[in-house]
Amino acid sequence: MNQEKNMDYQNIPRELFTKVQVDQGERERIGRPSLTAWQDGWIRLKQNKAAVVSLFVIIAIVALAILGPVFSPYNFAQTDYSATYQGPSLAHLFGTDMYGRDQFTRIWYGTRISLLIGFVAACLDLFVGVTYGAVSALLGGKVDAIMQRIIEILVGIPHLIIVILLMMVLPAGVGTIIVALAITGWVNMARLVRARILQLKNQEFVMAAEVLGTSQKNIILRHLIPNTVGIIVINAMFTIPSAIFTEAFLSFIGIGLSEPQASLGVLINNGYSVLQSYPYLLICPAIVIILIMVCFSILGDGLRDALDPRMSK
C-alpha cells in the first residue's frame, strides 16, 4: 500500500512543479494584532473567571460605599431610641443597632472609611516605598547598605507593636490609623522595587540607553519605572486588604476608631457583643469585610498572573 503511494509521487510529471515565490515582506509579517502590555494583561485577566468576578464585586462594593449613605434616608450617626435592635425590614434593610441607628447606612459608611484607609495607606506605601526602593537601588554602594539596614531594623520590630504604640500617642481618628499603617507598610514595597530595579539596571536595554546618551532622569522615567509598574500594581493590590484588615483589627480591640464613627471593625466589635441575641449585627459587616479581603486577594493574584506571566509559569 505504502509502496504504491510512493510510486504515485514519483510519477508526478516535473512540469507540474512551480517555484513558490516567497515574498520578503510576507516573511517579516507578524500575524498577531498589535497589543500593548496592558491590553495583553487585560486579555489574560479576562480568562481568569474568579478575578473578573472579584473585580465586579469590588466595583459593586465601592459603588455602594459611595452611594449607599447618600441615598439612604438616615444619617449614620442619627439615633432613634424608639427603634433599637430592629430586625432586617423594608424600613431598615440590615436592621438597627442598640441606639436605633440604621445598620445599612452604617455598614456602607463604615465600608467607605475602611476603603479610604486601605486606598490612602496603599498610596502612601506606593509613594514612600517606590521612592525609597528606587533611590536605594540607583545610588547603590554605601547609601544602599545603610538604607537596607534601616529596613531590616524596621522589619525586626513587630508591626503591631509600632502601630499600637502610635495609636496611644496620637489622637484617635482616621488620620492616625493611616499614619500608623504607612509608617511600617512601605517596607515590602521598597524591597520589591529595589530588587526589580537592581535587576533591570544591568540589563542591556538600559546600557543601550546610556550608550545613546539618554539622561539619567529619562533612564529612570522611561526605562526603569515603566518596567516596575507591574509589580507595583500587584503589591498595592495586596496592601489594600491588609490595611483594611489591620484597621478592623485595631477597631475591634478598641484602639482604632471610636463611636459614633463607623468602620467595619467598629461595627463588628459592636455586633460581637450582642452576637447571641442579634446575630445580623455581626454577620452583615463580617460578610462585607470578608468579600473585600477575598476579592482583593483573588484580583491581586489574577493581576500578578496577567501582568507578570513569568512568575506563574
Binding site: 517579516e28 498589535s34 502590555a37 540589563q203 542591556e204 546600557m207 543601550a208 540607553a209 550608550v211 515603566p226
Partner: protein
C-alpha cells in the same frame, strides 16, 4: 600603517573589578590596539576572557581603571565635557548580544529606534522623526507596520535588527558589536552578518566585532585580535592569523575549527591544551598562558611578555615567538 587613518586608539587599557576585600579581578589588563577607519576589527577569545568588558570600557559604559581610549584624535576617558560626551554618544554606538534583553519591553519599536534621535535632537518635528524611523526600519529589512509594535512580538533576528536600527539612528561612525549573532539561530546569523556588511559598504562604518564564532570572524573581519584572560595575545590581519598563527594559544584555538573538506578534515590535527583557564582573580607574574602552554619556559613563568610587532602589522605577546 598611516596614523591619519586611526579612528580608535586603545592604549594600555585596564579594567579591574574589586572582588571581596583585597582581591581584584583583572578583566582587561593592559590592552593596546588601534582600529583603522572603515575596517572591521574582530575580537575573539573564549567565554570570560574580557571581550565584552573591553568593548564596554571602550564605549565608556565602564570606567577604566587605567589607560587611554582615543577616538578620532580626542581622548575619551575621564576628560570629556558634557557636550563632548554627547557628541561621543552620537558617533559611537553599540549593538548588544541578547536581543531579548536589549530592547525595552514597554516601548514601541518606533520609540526604541527614535531614542537616539530624540536625545540628539536630530529630527525637527514628529513627522520627520517618524519618517527617519521608518527609513531605518526599511534599511534593516523591516517594514513600516513594525514601528507600532512591541518588541515581544518579534523574533530574535527581527529584534536584533531593531537593535541595529537603533544604533544606526544617530548616524554613527563606529559601532561596537558585542556578540550580536551568538544568541541567534544559525539560519538568521547569516542574514544579520550580511546586514552588517552591507551597512559598512553603504555608510563606511568602522566595526569592533566581538564574537566567539571563529568562522564568522574570519568571514567578516579585516583584522583579528585574540584575547586570553584579559590580555590581547595576538593581533594581525584576518588572512595572516588564520594561515600563520604565531601565538601558541591562537594556534591551539584555530586548530579546533573543523574543515569543510572531508579529506582535509581527517588529516586535521587538533592541538589539545591541558589544564583549564586559571581564575582571573589575583594572577601571579609571568605569561598568563604559561600554565597551559606546551612551549612554556622558566622565563614565561617569571616575566610577562610584551605585546610587540614581530612582522609588519602582526603583533604577538609571547617570549618564544619574539626570540
Amino acid at each position: 600603517m598611516n596614523d591619519k587613518n586611526v579612528l580608535v586608539s586603545v592604549q594600555h587599557l585596564k579594567k579591574y573589578f574589586p572582588v571581596g576585600k583585597k582581591q581584584t579581578l583583572k578583566a582587561v589588563d593592559d590592552v593596546t590596539f588601534d582600529i583603522y577607519k572603515g575596517e572591521t576589527l574582530g575580537l575573539v577569545g573564549e567565554s570570560g576572557c574580557g571581550k565584552s568588558t573591553l568593548g564596554r570600557t571602550v564605549i565608556q559604559l565602564y570606567k577604566p581603571t587605567d589607560g587611554k581610549v582615543i577616538f578620532d584624535g580626542k581622548e575619551v576617558v575621564g576628560k570629556q565635557s558634557a557636550a563632548e560626551h554627547k557628541e561621543f554618544t552620537r558617533r559611537v554606538q553599540m549593538v548588544f548580544q541578547d536581543p531579548y534583553a536589549s530592547l525595552n519591553q514597554r516601548m514601541k519599536v518606533m520609540d526604541i529606534v527614535a531614542e537616539g534621535i530624540d536625545n540628539h535632537g536630530l529630527a525637527k518635528d514628529r513627522k520627520e522623526r517618524e519618517e527617519m524611523v521608518i527609513r531605518l526600519l526599511e534599511t534593516v529589512g523591516l517594514q513600516r507596520e513594525h514601528a507600532n509594535r512591541f518588541p515581544h512580538e518579534f523574533s530574535g533576528g527581527q529584534r536584533q535588527r531593531v537593535g541595529i536600527a537603533r544604533a544606526l539612528a544617530v548616524n554613527p561612525d563606529f559601532i561596537i558589536a558585542d556578540e550580536p549573532i551568538s544568541a541567534l539561530d544559525v539560519s538568521i546569523q547569516a542574514q544579520v552578518i550580511n546586514l552588517f556588511q552591507d551597512l559598512q559598504k553603504e555608510r563606511g562604518l568602522t566595526y569592533l566585532f566581538i564574537a566567539h564564532d571563529l568562522s564568522m570572524i574570519k568571514h567578516i573581519s579585516d583584522r583579528v585580535g585574540v584575547m586570553y584572560l584579559g590580555s590581547m595575545v595576538e593581533l594581525t590581519t584576518s588572512d595572516e592569523i588564520f594561515e600563520h598563527p604565531l601565538h601558541p594559544y591562537t594556534q591551539a584555538m584555530f586548530s579546533a575549527i573543523p574543515l569543510a573538506d572531508p579529506k582535509l578534515e581527517t588529516s586535521r590535527k587538533r592541538i589539545m591544551l591541558h589544564g583549564s583557564i586559571p581564575s582571573p582573580v589575583n594572577l601571579g607574574p609571568g605569561c598568563r598562558f604559561a600554565g597551559r602552554c606546551p612551549y612554556a619556559t622558566d622565563r614565561c613563568r617569571q616575566e610577562s611578555p610584551a605585546f610587540q610587532e614581530v612582522a609588519p602589522g602582526h603583533f604577538v605577546a609571547c617570549h618564544e615567538v619574539q626570540k
